[in-house]
């Protein structure tokens, strides 16, 4: 069985596309071959900056012959029908066979599709693959129409077995396949022929190409860490950079160089970012000083001077880059040390979103919200205000303009330079967190307040202008923002009702967009204060309405009608995110639903405490049985209520109890009813669940011994009212009707 070797040789393929392209080549070619009946034993894809390679072992030499039987018209059918069938099947009349079937004699024919040689199939599949290759971006070149990621120069495509090798003939827009390739652009010896994969890999290495990207990456990391270790230093790990660098070289040569003394005073993050983004350098840290003192660069060739010229050149480039960084840093420090007012001023001219105003508007809005959270996080409103106002200042700095990924971090340095307190500096950095599910959540109260306010303002803002995430589209990362709020609240054990904050922040957005701004602002102010005192919006508007002589402006009416829906919708979004979050923790979605149905569901901590307690309870035997008991009680009750057209909710009296189990249930309910409701009142859900657990045995015993639907109507009604007590107690803990099972 032959082996197949394909190499597509081109001008430099972007590093970030290489791995995916090698996989796509493998998948598309093997899929095509298998579909045509050519199976194989093994497949390996490789990439270097100039080539995609696929090696297949143990390919069938030809596709198997396939026989197919087709049923035709009945014997004696009109000639036309028979001729049509013959044409369709591509056979002659003498190939027809008559066969008896339950429906009479019918013509059959056996069509044989002979196998095809592998080369023929490979040529077709490879051409199709090349013409339809899924590059993220492709191009044309010269006067041709073929598309590839960069100009494609040659195609190597050979089949080889013990007897030797042969070229699979192929011609794509003038590029003819062959058995020839070339090695390193500068260290190679020109074009050479190969006989199979082993020969190919060996000759490439001879001509200074390491075919396997994994091998290149390992080589780089090995040499880099060794070189650093020899001087008592550590290479800062960066897997993404390692993969990228391995995709930029065919023959990696690792070199380590110094960072000039002038720049060691720059923040380490600035050094690291500048070196990585611009130069693809690894940072090398001195564990004793904690400073980044050297860099590692990876060249694509060996030289007579062992890389001295290359290293000197790289060092010079780095010097220029870091001179720029230092220039930004020093300019920024001057602005920061003067109080950073110039930055804050300029944010008033920077648009955040055309419907949500400038960065300045946004800062004002979330500063107000952050200060309202002072009590929640237990920090001083004044400090929170200062931190919130400063949080985005670094967006105007030159360093962040140059390196957007340093936002926040530079804010911390600049806050310190501006003489702001540690809390303000920490908030400047931390208020973006958490960015992802594994990112740390800030714990400093001021940082937490600003982080929450920033995210809540973003969410309410985009909800106000109806730019919600849909399907896979979430351009403003609103899901991430909501998850951020959830984690900030839960991990810091914060207690707050989101509804009131949503409403107030939505009002702030409305005030911003209002037609009659001054009036709108004044009214919003009033409304906002009322919300603070009374909770949510609905009732509050009425209070304000009473306070104002005459009718509300139409605009306010409209806001009043629309805003609660927006707010509710946003809370629903939070609940959805919360379900995803808790599902990862192993809490079932129906358990969360049962808790969301309870009052106070905008207090995420309360909601989650309840859900966790319920989840734990339902995992116990008591919990599982109590749930069954509740469901049984609820079913009987619901059916009876439907049948009788009344609600059984009051008046169960122990004096009508007949059975001991019935009396025992009365007694148990008397004890636990109070215990559970006071546990709920003090939010001790574990104790509430304990109370529920204590009800399980009496409920089970009751159902065991007693027939609810007694012939005695008084006894029956009394029992239904007793079931109603069970229902009320259980529903006071969570909406168990929503729990499955």
């Amino acid at each position: 069985m032959p082996d197949l070797l394909i190499e597509l040789f081109s001008e430099e393929i972007p590093a970030r596309m290489q791995a995916r392209a090698a996989d796509d080549l493998k998948k598309r070619v093997t899929d095509g071959l298998v579909e045509a009946g050519l199976t194989y034993a093994g497949a390996h894809g490789f990439s270097t900056p100039r080539r995609l390679t696929l090696a297949l072992e143990g390919l069938l030499a030809e596709s198997p012959t396939v026989r197919e039987e087709r049923k035709g018209p009945k014997v004696g059918a009109p000639d036309k029908a028979i001729e049509g069938f013959l044409r369709g099947a591509g056979v002659a009349r003498e190939d027809l066979q008559e066969r008896e079937t339950p429906k009479g004699a019918v013509y059959f024919v056996t069509i044989e599709k002979p196998g095809r040689p592998a080369a023929e199939i490979i040529a077709e599949v490879l051409e199709d693959t090349i013409r339809n290759f899924p590059w993220p971006k492709s191009m044309r070149w010269g006067a041709g129409t073929l598309r590839w990621v960069r100009p494609l120069h040659s195609i190597l495509c050979i089949l080889s077995d013990e007897a030797g090798h042969s070229v699979v003939p192929l011609d794509i827009d003038g590029i003819k396949s062959g058995d020839v390739t070339e090695g390193h652009r500068f260290m190679g010896s020109g074009r050479f022929a190969v006989t199979g994969f082993e020969d190919y890999e060996v000759k490439l290495k001879r001509d200074h190409v390491v075919l396997n990207p994994q091998e290149r990456a390992e080589h780089i990391w090995h040499d880099a860490t060794n070189m650093a270790f020899a001087q008592g230093l550590d290479v800062v790990e960066d897997k993404g950079l390692l993969t990228e660098v391995a995709g930029l070289v065919e023959w990696p040569v690792v070199l380590m160089g110094d960072i000039a003394e002038d720049f060691l005073g720059l923040p380490p993050e600035v050094l690291q970012t500048s070196m990585k983004e611009h130069q693809k350098f690894f940072s090398v840290k001195n564990p004793k000083t904690g400073r980044i003192e050297k860099f590692i660069t990876v060249a694509n060739r060996e030289t007579k001077d062992n890389g001295a010229t290359i290293l000197a050149g790289n060092q010079k480039v780095l010097f220029a880059r870091l001179s720029d960084a230092k220039f930004f840093w020093e300019n920024d420090l001057r602005v920061a040390e003067a109080g950073a007012d110039a930055w804050l001023e300029s944010l008033n001219n920077v648009t955040f979103h055309n419907k949500l105003g400038t960065q300045g508007d946004r800062i004002a809005r979330f500063t107000a919200l952050a200060q309202e959270l002072a009590g929640v996080v237990a920090a001083e409103a004044e400090v929170i205000g200062e931190a919130a106002r400063f949080a985005k200042a670094d967006l105007s700095s030159e360093m962040v303009y140059e390196f957007p990924e340093l936002q926040g971090l530079m804010g911390r340095y600049y806050a310190a330079a501006a003489g702001r307190g540690e809390e303000v500096a920490a908030a400047a950095e931390e208020h973006y967190s958490p960015l992802g599910p594994s990112d740390d959540v800030p714990t400093a109260p001021v940082s937490v307040a600003v982080a929450l306010a920033d995210k809540l303002d973003t969410l309410t803002g985009f909800w106000a202008i109806d730019e919600k995430p849909t399907g896979s589209k979430d351009p403003f990362a609103l899901r991430r923002a909501a998850l951020g709020v959830i984690r900030l609240v839960l991990e810091n054990d914060l207690r707050l009702g989101l509804d009131a904050h949503f409403d107030r922040q939505l009002l702030r957005h409305e005030a911003h967009q209002g037609d009659d701004e001054l009036l709108a602002r004044a009214l919003m102010q009033d409304l906002s204060v009322e919300i603070a005192d009374h909770g949510v919006l609905g009732a509050v508007v009425r209070t304000v309405q009473d306070a104002i002589d005459g009718d509300l402006p139409k605009y306010i009416e409209e806001v009043r009608n629309r805003l609660p829906d927006t707010s509710r919708d946003l809370l629903g979004f939070f609940h959805d995110r919360l379900k995803v979050y808790l599902r990862d923790e192993g809490v079932r979605h129906d358990v969360i639903d049962a808790c969301i149905a309870m009052p106070g569901n905008d207090d995420l901590n309360l909601l989650v405490k309840r859900a966790r307690a319920l989840e734990a309870f339902l995992r116990t035997e008591d919990g599982e049985n109590l749930l069954q008991g509740f469901k049984r009680a609820n079913n009987i009750l619901t059916q009876a209520e439907e049948k009788d057209g009344v609600e059984y909710s009051f008046g169960a009296d122990v004096k009508h109890a007949q059975d001991d189990s019935e009396k025992a249930l009365f007694a148990a309910l008397d004890v636990q009813e109070g215990a559970i409701s006071s546990a709920i009142g003090s939010e001790d859900f574990a104790a509430a669940m304990g109370g529920m657990a204590a009800l399980r045995a009496p409920i089970d015993a009751f159902f065991e011994a007693v027939q609810v639907n007694s012939d005695n109507e008084i006894v029956r009604r009394n029992r239904l009212n007793l079931l109603s007590r069970i229902r009320t107690i259980c529903l006071g803990v969570a909406d168990l009707t929503r729990v499955e099972g």
């Binding site: 010269g142 100009p151 790289n314 010079k316 648009t351 055309n354």
Partner: protein, 309 residues
């Protein structure tokens, strides 16, 4: 002139060697365009000639201005006025990478000692409505050229595709000559009777223009000029293709394109003066792009643009 196998000794020698090299490879060595542009790409020998089906090969130096990059002549390698060397060949020849590497050797870069790399860098000019795929070429980690296969210019698909090479001359020369500050670089032969450095030629102008660009340029006048250029461009293109005086078909793509270049540079000046907000920025770029597209539409209606009556 020195031998090509020796190291060049001055800025101008590098330019002369590039001119000789590309002339030897069959390019028409053209002269700079006589207008203020932000990059060599704006020269009609690139922007317009990359359009249409006719073959083309040109090389030239183009003085380029980027007002926001002014540093009063103090930054070692940032200038508001600098030179680009530009090569455009249509259709792009299959050995363009090798030709390019040959040009580096011609200016004294020893391939045996340096690390030359082609690093992904897709080029896009929002003002020209143009994009292409290619690389920035690194020499020992230093970006020495842009290498682009034009895919679209002025909203038109490029057929055939042009290969474009752009060398940042100062940076490249500093590297080859081993100079750390651009102002210290020998402009002419350092042993000439009157040896001049780059600083002798340009330090003062960098200061003058930095001050004017950042703080003095009259923004009202610039705005007005922008609008005039925009209007004139439209007015030129609105003319009938047939000239009533000569009775000949004369589509005025180049005069209209001059106005587009003007508008683009005026926008850069306004940007440097800091009077264009983020949102307005996009709008201005869009206005220039509209002009560029209209000029491209007009050019393909000309003989040089492949129009056949």
């Amino acid at each position: 002139m020195a031998q090509t196998d020796s190291k060049p000794r001055s800025f101008q020698e590098i330019i002369l060697r590039l001119q000789a090299y590309w002339a030897g490879k069959g390019c028409a060595v053209m002269q700079p365009y006589d207008m203020e542009v932000g990059a060599g790409t704006f020269h009609p020998a690139t922007t317009l000639r990359s359009l249409g089906s006719k073959s083309w090969a040109a090389a030239y130096v183009q003085p380029s201005r980027r007002p926001t990059d002014g540093r009063y002549g103090e930054n070692p390698n940032r200038l508001q006025h600098y030179y680009q060397y530009q090569v455009l060949i249509k259709p792009s020849p299959p050995d363009l990478q090798a030709l390019y590497l040959g040009s580096l050797e011609a200016i004294g870069v020893d391939m045996e000692m340096h690390d030359i790399r082609f690093v992904e860098d897709d080029w896009e000019s929002p003002t020209l409505g143009a994009w292409g795929l290619g690389w920035e070429v690194w020499c020992d980690g230093m970006e020495v050229s842009q290498f682009t296969y034009f895919q679209q210019v002025g909203g038109h698909d490029c057929h055939p595709v042009s290969g474009e090479l752009t060398y940042g001359l100062e940076r490249l020369a500093m590297y080859v000559l081993g100079v750390d500050h651009v102002m210290d670089m020998p402009f002419n032969d350092p042993e000439a009777p009157i040896a001049l450095t780059y600083g002798d030629v340009f330090r003062q102008t960098e200061q003058e223009y930095s001050r004017w660009n950042f703080d003095v340029a009259n923004t009202d006048v610039l705005l007005k000029q922008f609008e005039e250029a925009e209007a004139e461009c439209g007015a030129i293109l609105a003319q009938d293709h047939v000239d009533p005086k000569t009775g000949k078909r004369i589509v005025m793509a180049h005069p209209a394109y001059d106005q587009c270049i003007k508008a683009s540079h005026l926008f850069n000046l306004l940007d440097a003066r800091g009077v264009i907000s983020v949102t307005e920025r996009q709008a201005y770029i869009g206005r220039v792009r509209t002009l560029a597209k209209q000029c491209a539409d007009a050019f393909v209606q000309t003989e040089a643009g492949g129009y056949a009556a």
